[in-house]
């Protein structure tokens, strides 16, 4: 069972539908006993960085999720959820994130249209079980205005190009981030979620 952390508004239903299709049971929840019992945690991604961290702090979930991550439980952050794993973000003023990953979240430079919205291709950096059956240059759906910068290149699994190099899939042990929406990326996205499922004990 997977816990999808419910930290406010947004489309978490689609993620749950995608997991249902793969036969994975999930709960959209903030209940610690459910989260503790689950085999993996997903931080979905809609909204703003500061609001999301504030919502997690208010429900005492920030330190709890850190503890859960420390046990080695797979943690997947999608879009904003991935951004929350970094040290900080400049969205709505400097805000601290979980700090699982080295790097800072910054606005995509204005020399391209912002938000980065639509289907863009993945350039693989290294082989990872996360990319099993994913062809090189496969297209996934992005929609975001901020992106991780100054990341540790050892964590980079795949990137995309949009005005800058945008980390698209990152992994550091049990901490995984996807800047795009796998639940909205057609067959490619469902395969990526299936690969994540394979990691779950």
């Amino acid at each position: 069972m997977i816990s999808i952390i419910d930290y406010g508004a947004g489309n978490t239903k689609s993620l749950q539908f995608a997991l249902n299709k793969m036969g994975v049971d999930s709960h959209i929840t903030t209940d610690k006993t459910i989260i503790e019992k689950s085999n993996a945690i997903i931080l979905p991604g809609v909204g703003a960085f500061q609001d999301a961290m504030h919502a997690l702090d208010t429900q005492n979930l920030t330190s709890f999720i850190k503890q859960e991550a420390a046990t080695g439980k797979p943690l997947l952050g999608i879009c904003l959820g991935m951004q929350l794993f970094y040290e900080s973000s400049e969205e709505d003023g400097e805000t601290k994130g979980f700090g699982f990953l080295t790097g800072k979240v910054k606005k995509i430079p204005n020399d391209v249209k912002v938000p980065h919205m639509g289907w863009n291709n993945l350039h693989k950096y290294r082989n990872s079980s996360l990319c099993k059956q994913i062809t090189d240059e496969a297209f996934v759906y992005f929609v975001h205005s901020y992106a991780a910068t100054d990341v540790d290149t050892n964590t980079l699994v795949a990137s995309t190009a949009y005005g800058m190099r945008i980390p698209a899939i990152v992994q550091q042990n049990n901490i995984i981030g996807m800047q795009f929406h796998p639940e909205k990326s057609g067959a490619t996205g469902l395969q990526l979620l299936a690969n994540f499922k394979e990691m779950i004990a």
Binding site: G10, A48, W119, K184, G186
Partner: protein, 255 residues
């Protein structure tokens, strides 16, 4: 490389997809979930569902449709029509929509865009503008399905919408809509010069050439159409193959 998007638009009345309101003889076309699935398989990059029902009772049917679509297809979709409040937005997002398109209510109450963008994120708030060219060559903004002219100029309103927090614009040209003679390139160009958010062109698609024209770099990022897709006049796989030959980057059809 970020690809240009092809977006079929589905008008939904009482739970069924019908022909657009600009067309006479409204008739039943298809089941929304089935049609969405068909477009997904054909390689549509996104979908738009437009609620053309009026009563609250029918609105609940529409939200059910949104949820059924979200359960069946794994590509993004926008929902529009009759969105007036933050609660309306919340209910369709909760049902599984990715973006919400706001038209008349944004003109009457610009604060709605700002409040919604803060609450749900800019990326899911789409400002839809119905524009009609006036004699002096500018574009007037219309509301209530093109029936009521406002004092707003479309280019200024687009800029204001971006400042309020809209993450995307849909520009529907009333002059060209339903004519099948091509999109209003001048409107797309004028707005594209003024804003730095993605633009979806709407109104006027009749031939494949119209798509390649409007998807050139200085116009639109996505092209929306209804009847040419619903009636199979332009199959999406053929359209994408054609666009690729014209040097326009599109997402390949999924296998």
């Amino acid at each position: 490389m970020l690809t240009k998007r092809i977006i079929p638009c589905l008008d939904v009345d009482k739970g069924r997809v019908v022909k657009g309101k600009k067309f006479t003889n409204i008739q039943d076309v298809a089941d929304p979930v089935e049609l969405a699935q068909r477009y997904n398989e054909a390689g549509a990059d996104e979908l738009v569902f437009y609620d053309i029902t009026a009563s609250n009772e029918d609105r609940d049917i529409f939200v059910d449709v949104v949820e059924q679509v979200a359960a069946e297809i794994a590509i993004p979709f926008t929902v529009g029509g009759g969105i007036r409040t933050v609660e309306d937005i919340h209910s369709v997002l909760r049902a599984g929509a990715d973006k919400v398109s706001i038209n008349s209510a944004a003109v009457q109450q610009p604060g709605l865009i700002e409040e919604a963008a803060k609450k749900f994120g800019k990326q899911c708030i789409v400002l839809s503008i119905d524009a009609k060219q006036t004699e002096d060559g500018r574009w007037a903004v219309y509301i209530h399905g093109g029936r009521k002219q406002t004092a707003l100029n479309a280019v200024d309103w687009a800029k204001q919408g971006e400042a309020l927090g809209a993450g995307e614009l849909v520009l529907n040209a009333i002059n060209t809509d339903g004519e099948k003679n091509g999109y209003d390139l001048d409107l797309m160009h004028a707005v594209a010069q003024a804003v730095n958010i993605p633009i979806v062109a709407s109104g006027g698609a009749g031939k494949m050439e119209h798509f390649s024209q409007v998807l050139q770099p200085t116009y639109a990022d996505a092209a929306l159409a209804a009847s040419v897709f619903h009636y199979g006049e332009i199959p999406i796989p053929a359209l994408k193959a054609y666009l690729a030959t014209q040097g326009i980057t599109v997402r390949p059809i999924p296998h």
